[in-house]
């Protein structure tokens, strides 16, 4: 199986007035094409930092202090995500590397209709598809279980679950190679969460995208991921097949993490 992304010795630090705080400390991680990779770890372990840095959205005072992340988009030459700049980076974005942010409430521009937020990326990255917008947007929305009329609505008219699904639809609009989803369900109710997780799984089957799903909820990983990477204090303590991580954790921390999950002790029906 080929890798979409190969991360080597990745380091990120935040400079504070008490010196640099290392949030990500030398991570080596491969993401295989077509898989769903779960990133687990408690709050503050550096999951978001990792994602944001990979997406090159890291803002001061954060800075990448080392490592490389070779990205292999289909049909393009591989690039080091940590080195690309300017126009090259901009073109890469969305068409090859897209993002499903956590803050579904606020990631949509409140003063633009949903369809216009689709239009944005298409005009920017795939102008040739502009004419088929009228057909494309409803199709994408339908893919995540939304009615076509949602396209004409404003974000504040949508519920959280709907917004999250709109974001998912936008994320796959250009059929990117890799989608990084940072806590896609934490803000949502369990019932909606389940729907979203289903849709995420569908994305892979329907579009064949590779997904990197970040969550601190081990349940989410258990339900969704193919492989799970566990982070602790900025380090990767364990990567493995989901079954192996849950059933036979190698690392002491992972074990502790799995054990501290309150169990319902009841089989799902």
């Amino acid at each position: 199986m080929s890798n979409v992304l190969e991360i080597k010795g990745f380091e990120v630090a935040y400079s504070t007035n008490r010196g640099d705080v290392k949030a990500v400390r030398g991570i080596d991680l491969d993401v295989r094409r077509g898989e769903i990779l779960g990133i687990a770890g408690e709050s503050g372990s550096g999951k978001s930092t990792l994602a944001v840095a990979l997406l090159r959205l890291l803002k001061a005072p954060g800075k990448v202090t080392g490592g490389s992340a070779m990205f292999h988009p289909a049909g393009r030459s591989p690039v080091d995500l940590l080195k690309v700049h300017g126009e090259e980076l901009r073109v890469l974005r969305w068409s090859a590397l897209s993002y499903l942010p956590q803050g579904s409430m606020s990631s949509l521009n409140p003063v633009m209709r949903v369809q216009d937020q689709f239009k944005d990326v298409i005009i920017e990255h795939a102008p040739e598809r502009k004419d088929s917008l009228g057909e494309l947007v409803p199709r994408l929305l339908g893919q995540v279980g939304l009615e076509p009329r949602v396209a004409r609505m404003y974000p504040h008219e949508l519920s959280g679950g709907m917004k999250q699904r709109v974001l998912m639809a936008i994320a796959v609009a250009l059929e990117p190679d890799l989608v990084i989803a940072d806590e896609p369900t934490t803000a949502l109710d369990v019932t909606i969460q389940r729907v979203i997780l289903q849709s995420l799984a569908d994305l892979r089957t329907d579009f064949g995208v590779t997904l990197m799903v970040i969550s601190h909820d081990m349940g989410v990983h258990a339900q969704l991921a193919d492989r799970v990477a566990v982070m602790y204090e900025g380090r990767l303590v364990e990567v493995g097949d989901v079954r192996q991580v849950f059933k036979n954790p190698q690392d002491a921390y992972t074990r502790q993490l799995i054990e501290s999950i309150p169990k319902l002790g009841r089989r799902a029906s």
Binding site: L57, R93, S106, S107, P110, V111, V121, E124, H156
Partner: protein, 364 residues
Amino acid sequence: MTAEAPPVVAVDKSQDSAPRSGVRAWLSRHPLAAYSIRRLGLYLVELWGALTITFFFFRLMPGDPIQTLIQTLQQNYIYNAQASAELIARYQQEFGLTGNLFSQYLKYMEKLVLHGDMGPSLINYPTPAQTVILRSLPWTIGLLGLSAVLAWILGVVIGAIAGWRRGKLGSRIATNLSIALSHVPYFFVALILVYIFAYSMGMLPARSAYDSRIDPGISLAFIGSVLKYGLLPGLSIVLIGTFSWILSTRMLMVPILGEDYLVYAEAKGLKGWRILTRYALRNCYLPQITAFGISLGFIFNGNVLVEQLFNYPGLGTTLVTAIQQLDFNTILGVTNIAIFSVLTAVLLLDLLLPLLDPRVKYWK
């Protein structure tokens, strides 16, 4: 699939327990209409309140306007002019100064509301105050309105860029200049501009509104002349206005920059200017529109002195002249016009805003 709640049985007493009469039900089904009606009601209340307050303010002020008039004339003609009791009585009648304060008020309001009549002006007796005001109104609207809008546009755009490219040298200069200058009174700047462009360089005229060799009318020469003469006063309003808009826009912009949707827009790989205009600016110009309506009033205050300085034939100059001769009707008229325009502007903006900004919760 709107959640249709069951029809209400009158259970709740403390809250809204009215039966669903036709109008009420209709209104609650048409929130925009309900909002507009309520907003209009508030507008009328505010208008009435403001007009009433100003009326009583001016009437409670000492100094008999008729006496003032006589006195002014004495100063002008030096002779001890004969101001007989008869003359004073006649004028008091005409200026609506007879009867008790309350009946004066009723009479004033009646004339104002029903006939748009503000009574005779003192500075230009017997021309009615509204005529005096209407004569100067176009100049003020032209000068103040144009430059206020210009200042707003410039300020919002520059402010947004300054916030957007914060940390860059240009933005820092713009920001710090704004901090230093945004509260400087208009006429300070006006003075400095006059000194530089009119006195030292002699490039631009420092007073009046057009070249009197050109006959007023819709001709190219006249319009050119008006623009040339309006440049300095306009510039002084635009400059300072721009600075304060820069400052407030930047203050609005900075928190917006932290918003997730901007990060998201960046992640989408959109071009910088597109993010600025479609995402950042669109979210901060809307609150600034409301602010603009409210600010009109202050610009009016500042404008008085600028017009005065440039001898511009606008409302400000009329106001100052009226004040100097305690011309009640004209002062009141100008004040009322200002109140009316500010309130109306704010009303229109408030009614317009729900159309511009989908987030505005007009039913609140």
